[in-house]
């Protein structure tokens, strides 16, 4: 039932607005709306009950194993939430003067410093609102850099074919053409193809390492050297930083600019689709171009660094400073982990992934890159099951929901057929991983014996399998009152 269907004309949650409606004679009639908007009219309890019950229809980290590859669905500490929601933080207006902002600025400054250290970059800007905005900022800096040198003929960004969709999309937003680089059989960048693609038109390359194939790009130093030799810069998509935190740093690998997904590696919540935070880090030569604002510290007080001090900045990406509430959550998390906790993230996420991969392959599932270590995630392909049993990856995914587990990422990266990208994260216990293997094995048995059960899954959720085609064809994107209700 929709909240609109609980609505009755005149019903209200009275305590939630001023008790009287004030007069507004200064607003000319012609500018007023003629009819009130058709928002729901419900009591406070109706709203609370409706949204409480709706929430229960979600899978989430707090309720389910959620091994969604590339998304790092790990535990989101409740302490981060509580401390970011302290009244003093919530109430601060973004345009409050520095005199009334030292506390929050201290947190942001510290976070900049921590992120610099863990990534090996020279400087960090926290302002991008998510990974994709970080990518945009990063590529924009690459462009600003080339432009600043008068090197304006560089028109292409190289992107491996396994890359996340945001990579090419971000490059295009910066006015670049995108050229795809193929991957070799072991999941590494095809070096010959790279060599061939590089040239005076190359502005840079965007890489994720470990890649979205779940393997570490072993020849990263060589790639860096070749791209740099061609005059290009290297962009690091930090979505997979969880795998290498405290082990190897993008700066040390030779990257010039990176973004980090704090909602992944630094465990801020995904919130049903956001908000995230996608800070960018840069090497020295890109520092002048960082998006503003930044926080500086003069040993006594914190200050905002704006366009004034950074005339070459690519500018502002949002009206204010970015998703500060998310940054505070990441900061709390980083402080709780501390120095020694950073590499533990990589250790245990890698341990979990390799264990799960081994158990799955022992159980007869096919690894996409059998000769490789898993990083914090890995890919299995169900092409054999799809072919032999007629039960495809999506069917497995939907049936997993019935077993009380969120499905791994399906059909991404695009170049591995019938794939599941599985990322257990370090916060899951081995019993849960074992239960996942058992569920997969049982689903395969079901696929052999009662394939329809799998193909029509899920069976135990609020709805059965949804008709996506109809959703796109007969667009129903907003509730309309029925004629009767007027």
């Amino acid at each position: 039932m929709l909240i609109f269907e609980h609505s009755r004309p005149g019903r209200r949650a009275t305590a939630q607005a001023p008790l009287q409606r004030e007069e507004t004679p200064a607003i000319p009639d012609a500018m007023r709306r003629k009819r009130p908007p058709r928002l729901p009219e419900v009591s406070e309890m109706q709203a609370v009950r409706h949204y409480t019950r709706l929430s229960q229809q979600n899978f989430s980290i707090d309720t389910h194993f959620y091994p969604l590859g590339s998304c790092t669905m790990k535990y989101n500490p409740r302490g981060s939430n509580a401390l970011a929601m302290l009244p003093g933080f919530l109430a601060r207006h973004p345009l409050a003067p520095e005199s009334h902002s030292q506390g929050v600025m201290a947190c942001l400054y510290d976070l900049q410093e921590i992120l610099k250290e863990v990534t090996g970059m020279q400087a960090v800007s926290l302002t991008p609102a998510a990974g994709a905005q970080g990518e945009f900022a990063g590529v924009a800096m690459i462009r600003a850099y080339h432009d600043s040198r008068g090197d304006t003929a560089r028109s292409e960004i190289l992107v491996p074919d396994a890359a996340h969709g945001t990579n090419p999309a971000s490059a295009v937003m910066c006015g670049y053409k995108v050229r795809e680089i193929p991957t070799d059989a072991d999941g590494d960048v095809d070096l010959d193809a790279l060599e061939e693609a590089l040239g005076p038109q190359t502005a840079g390359i965007m890489l994720t390492n470990p890649s979205t194939l779940g393997v570490f790009e072993r020849r990263i130093a060589e790639i860096a050297q070749r791209v740099h030799a061609a005059g290009g810069l290297l962009y690091y998509d930090g979505a997979n930083l969880n795998a290498i935190l405290g082990k190897v740093r993008p700066g040390d690998m030779g990257f010039d600019v990176i973004h980090m997904n704090l909602h992944k590696t630094f465990s801020t919540p995904h919130g049903g689709g956001g908000p995230g935070a996608g800070p960018v880090g840069v090497s020295e030569r890109l520092e002048p171009f960082l998006p503003v604002p930044l926080v500086a510290y003069d040993g006594d007080e914190y200050h905002w660094v704006t366009e004034k001090a950074r005339p070459q900045s690519i500018g502002r990406l949002s009206a204010f400073g970015g998703n500060v509430g998310v940054l505070l959550r990441a900061y709390v998390y980083a402080r709780m982990l501390g120095r020694e906790g950073m590499s533990r993230v990589a250790d245990y996420s890698t341990l979990n992934a390799n264990y799960l991969l081994k158990r799955l392959t022992d159980a007869g599932f096919e690894a996409a890159y059998p000769n490789r270590r898993a990083t914090h995630e890995f890919i299995i392909t169900l092409r054999r099951e799809a072919k032999e049993l007629g039960v495809n990856t999506m069917d497995f995914a939907k049936r997993l929901l019935d077993y009380g587990m969120h499905a791994p990422t399906t059909y991404f990266p695009l170049l591995v057929p019938e794939c599941l990208l599985i990322e257990p994260t370090e916060t899951e216990d081995p019993e849960t991983l074992d239960a996942f293997v058992e569920a997969m094995v049982r689903i395969r048995e079901e696929a052999e014996r009662t394939p329809d059960k799998v193909k029509t899954a899920p069976h135990s959720l609020p709805v059965r399998r949804l008709d996506d085609v109809r959703a796109a064809r007969e667009l129903d994107l907003a509730w309309q009152p029925s004629a009767a209700e007027g």
């Binding site: 607003i27 709306r33 949204y51 933080f89 399998r465 994107l477």
Partner: protein
């Protein structure tokens, strides 16, 4: 090990299953030369209690000043239920609803959100959020340029009455795609975009016209005339609106003869705390015919195998994960949780509640202006009707006055000097429904004293804080 469940025995058994000697072995594909050191610059770990102590001290440090700043972020009452519900684990720790059947909570909520936003704006369709108001305007501009079949141009008219930070962000975001943003001047007496200013562009090929309502000065624009001008000149109209104001004001879908084409804005006033500027969310609505040009997630209602209604992400072919370099935008993670809060907020307020909030904010600002203009030398800069913000001209440099006020824990407004030097000593003030008469009195008293002492040319004591 905080947040890691593994016991020594677990590790042993797992390594044995893998056939690896140690966890370190699992990193054997990482070239040794690249391995990093101990991250000395990161401080050692702390317990939740210890971090709590630190954060509490810092949160307290910034005090609880009395805030009369608006300028794009507004201090409205948020019902306690909003965040107690939005912070429920099932909303808070889920991700983008890729597996629709396991995400009906989020999906239905997003569908309800889209329905509420279309109701509020009187537009046909809404997406499920963008990052914030400024980046939403950038996306709206990109979308308009793509969607406008009548125009070949990449020129977009942007009034100077649009929030300066929005104009900067739009420039930063759309600049690389060859889009040209042209300023439209404002009427110095009214503070609104003079429709006559459009005459200069009457013969140009313009892709879109941006129309703020209320504008950055709080002033109400002649939206009907502007919208009709755009329609008449083959330009798409892009409304940038305050959603709370829409509870009282004509919605973009009804502007002019045929309504605006695209509507966007900052969702913060709908249940997001100020929190230093984010997370907020951008909303974006448009005509049905442009839906395939929209950036961002969109949720649709459909049916399941049994014909039972359900909800799912739809029109994904617009998005980066399918369309890659040809996507309508690069956005992936959006501001889902803020939309969750906004949806609950709107359900609790309803049309009448939202209208009362809007009216109270309008009335409070009027009271504030009346009070402050009682001070010698303080005058309203513009004479046109406004929503809940007003520009005041002060008899002293705004920067100095604001610093003095801040020393008394009053945040007096936004200094317009850097963005609009032509306005002189101009200050943008706002008093939402959260400010009381007593609060306004405090502002008045402090300001009166500061200005009086200045004019008596004795500087008031300004304790450094």
């Amino acid at each position: 090990m905080p947040f890691i469940p593994h016991t020594d025995e677990d590790v042993r058994a797992m390594l044995e299953a893998i056939g690896a000697e140690s966890i370190e072995t699992l990193f054997d594909e990482v070239p040794g030369a690249l391995r990093c050191g101990g991250l000395e610059a990161v401080p050692p770990g702390m317990s939740e209690m210890e971090v709590g102590r630190l954060m509490q001290a810092r949160a307290r440090e910034d005090g609880q000043p009395l805030c009369f700043i608006g300028a794009g972020a507004y201090d409205h009452h948020i019902p306690a239920a909003v965040w107690q519900l939005a912070a429920r684990g099932e909303f808070y720790t889920a991700y983008t609803p890729y597996q629709a059947e396991a995400s009906q909570g989020t999906l239905q909520l997003l569908y309800e959100y889209q329905s509420m936003m279309t109701a509020l704006t009187a537009m046909d369709v809404s997406n499920a959020s963008l990052y914030d108001g400024a980046s939403a305007l950038a996306e709206a501009v990109l979308m308009a340029v793509r969607a406008n079949r009548k125009s070949k141009s990449r020129r977009v008219l942007v009034p100077r009455t649009v929030h300066p930070a929005y104009r900067r962000a739009v420039q930063a975001i759309v600049g690389y795609q060859g889009i040209e943003l042209l300023d439209l001047p404002y009427d110095p007496a009214g503070g609104h975009t003079d429709p006559a200013a459009l005459d200069d562009h009457a013969d140009e090929d313009i892709a879109a016209l941006v129309i703020p309502q209320p504008n950055f000065f709080g002033v109400l624009e002649e939206v009907d005339v502007l919208t009709d001008w755009a329609a008449a000149h083959g330009a798409l109209s892009i409304a940038v609106v305050n959603p709370v104001a829409l509870a009282l004001l004509e919605p973009p879908g009804e502007w002019g003869a045929n309504g605006a084409d695209i509507c966007c804005g900052e969702g913060q006033p709908l249940g997001a705390p100020l929190t230093s500027g984010g997370p907020y969310f951008g909303f974006l609505c448009c005509r049905q015919s442009f839906v395939r040009q929209m950036p961002g997630r969109i949720v649709g209602r459909t049916v399941d195998l049994d014909g039972k209604p359900g909800f799912t992400l739809t029109l994904q072919a617009r998005e980066q994960h399918i369309r890659r370099s040809k996507a309508t935008s690069n956005i992936c993670t959006n501001q889902g949780l803020m939309v969750t809060a906004a949806t609950i907020h709107m359900a609790l307020l309803g049309a009448e509640g939202l209208a009362r909030v809007a009216a109270a904010s309008h009335a409070n600002t009027a009271r504030l202006v009346e009070r402050l203009t009682g001070i010698e030398g303080v005058e309203p800069s513009f004479d046109r009707p406004a929503f809940h913000e007003r520009v005041l001209r002060l008899p002293a440099p705004v920067k100095d006055v604001l610093r003095s006020l801040a020393a008394h824990n009053v945040l007096g407004g936004f200094d317009l000097h850097d963005d609009y030097p032509e306005l002189g000593d101009a200050l943008l003030v706002c008093a939402t429904e959260m400010r009381t008469g007593a609060d306004i009195d405090i502002y008045y008293e402090k300001l009166e004293r500061i200005i009086r002492m200045r004019s008596e040319s004795r500087c008031p004591v300004e304790p450094k804080i």
